[in-house]
Symmetry: C2
Subunit: 321 residues, 2 copies
């Protein structure tokens, strides 16, 4: 068995569609004012993929970005995992389609992880662990949940929030990068329906549309996430002050502000940078992590995702050069 | 970190719907004779769930079977994973719904794994690894792929093969059972479409139907699986003779016979027991494993799943008392 700390987040690639839908245009329709948009949602525009782009296509574009940042040998990739609840098709898994489109080798494991906004943290924990236990050296962890597929544009609760995007994280053994120290997960009992896509399909569409109980999501998040981060740090023997950056899933500006306030974190340690592209679900945390992974200046970061389930995952990562 | 060998397959529960669809009735329609049915398919009848039963319901019934076999403390379960490509809904993951229906605790991680016929081996490797690395003590690994949701009854290639079912494996630390020694995975390049559910929906249905290139699946399986098992054993320093049972995914009698012949395995070491219920996809291996896990008489087993992707996974497990 390889040590867990030998598996490193070595590089992250990403793709955001260039097309943006501006929220300002929709405010009169939903009777929402600009102040609410700015201070509570924090999302001015949403990245929207082209209709012709499938989930696997966005993943492939994220991989091309990764290639411009970091040398990666395709023939050495041993895991291709796509975190998504919006796959190309139900069968096969999107990872098999990405495997085909990228020309990955025969000796590569492929599977999708269906999880939601905490999916990246789940994926990091699962991939890092299986790499350590099976002595695997190189893995690609994709995230892509293009909610534009399932949003009802007339739904005030969801239409202004979600953007499309994809990321890919290259996990590699013994290269410089961040290693997983520990993780903490949970699921709120009796809350499976607070985010659900099973409503009546849009006219002419076969896909169901997303429905969100925003009040329940906000309540669960502000209760669960600070407790999850506190438990994680206590188990790891670390304090909040030991952590350089907290990458909290940017569900909205309000939820990040409330968690930040609850944990008494300084603004400088909690980035919120989705104004121009929206909440990209499982891609939101790796999008924020891309720059720190490139710069490798911070010693220690906490990542925390939460949403669909209602479930959450927090993890502590540390720099190894 | 816990040692990998401390995580054990402690008990398995299962559920097969009592309703059976007999294949003999369909032979004239497809111009298939009884000899082919008996010697090539090996499936006389298929277990078919009630229309009102969702994937999560089958999982809950498998859990109730587990409870009759083994004491399990619900409050101690730290992972609830459902292996499925046929979830209740696309959002949330079926694991969150099962978590809700069983009343699992807040401190429980929930996610689905979308993989196909090798999904159980993927799930075993991922869950065992993350339990070892994060010091988790108790996990539930569900499998449930009710293909009756997506089969076109007029399709000769798929209508006689698949049955519905669910299983749940209780993974626990330091209890008697089988522990993962090593695993081997792969994905055939350029073969993502050999099993696909994206065809035109049935009239009145919103779900797509399964399409299978049986020739390609058979060719990939008979090439990849013997090589995967050989590589697994070579890496583990074991020979075929050291293994007491080979649980090969029963895609059909023919594919199991061909793999058995290729590896020169004796009939007694390769069970095939799906005549009365069909190919249950991700549930087929844990269904065969249920009795050995109960009896704990075999020292060493190889499990090998293959299909959707086209992908495969083989693992070696050893008894620890």
């Amino acid at each position: 068995m390889t040590l867990l700390t030998n598996v490193r987040i070595h590089a992250i690639g990403s793709y955001l569609p260039t097309h943006r839908a501006a929220n300002a245009d929709l405010l009169p329709r939903f009777s929402i004012d600009e102040e609410f948009l700015r201070t509570k949602l924090g999302i001015a525009a949403r990245a929207i993929k082209d209709n012709s782009e499938e989930t696997s296509d966005l993943c492939v574009k994220a991989f091309h970005d990764l290639q411009t940042r970091s040398g990666i040998a395709l023939s050495e990739v041993q895991i291709c995992c796509v975190v998504t609840q919006n796959p190309d098709v139900s069968i096969p898994h999107t990872a098999a389609i990405v495997h085909q489109k990228l020309g990955l080798p025969r000796s590569c494991m492929t599977f999708d992880l269906s999880q939601g906004c905490a999916g990246y943290v789940h994926g990091l924990a699962l991939l890092t662990s299986v790499m350590a236990s099976l002595d695997l050296r190189s893995a690609l962890l994709f995230t892509c949940d293009p909610y534009s597929k399932i949003i009802n544009p007339a739904d005030k609760n969801t239409a202004l929030i979600f953007g499309d995007g994809a990321t890919v994280t290259h996990l590699a053994c013994n290269l410089p990068g961040y290693a997983l120290v520990d993780a903490n997960f949970g699921t709120e009992p009796g809350s499976a329906e607070c985010l659900i896509a099973n409503g009546p399909a849009n006219e002419g569409a076969v896909r169901p549309t997303l429905q969100m109980n925003g009040t329940a999501v906000l309540m669960h998040a502000t209760r669960a996430v600070p407790a999850s981060i506190s438990a994680l740090l206590a188990k790891s023997g670390r304090k909040l002050d030991d952590v350089d950056l907290f990458l909290l899933h940017p569900g909205s500006k309000r939820v990040v502000d409330l968690i930040k306030k609850s944990l008494k974190l300084p603004d400088t340690k909690v980035p919120f940078e989705i104004e121009s592209y929206g909440n990209t679900v499982s891609s939101s945390i790796p999008l924020m992590l891309q720059q720190p992974v490139l710069e490798k200046q911070h010693a220690r970061l906490v990542l925390s995702g939460f949403g669909v389930g209602f479930s959450w995952g927090s993890c502590l990562i540390e720099l190894h050069n």
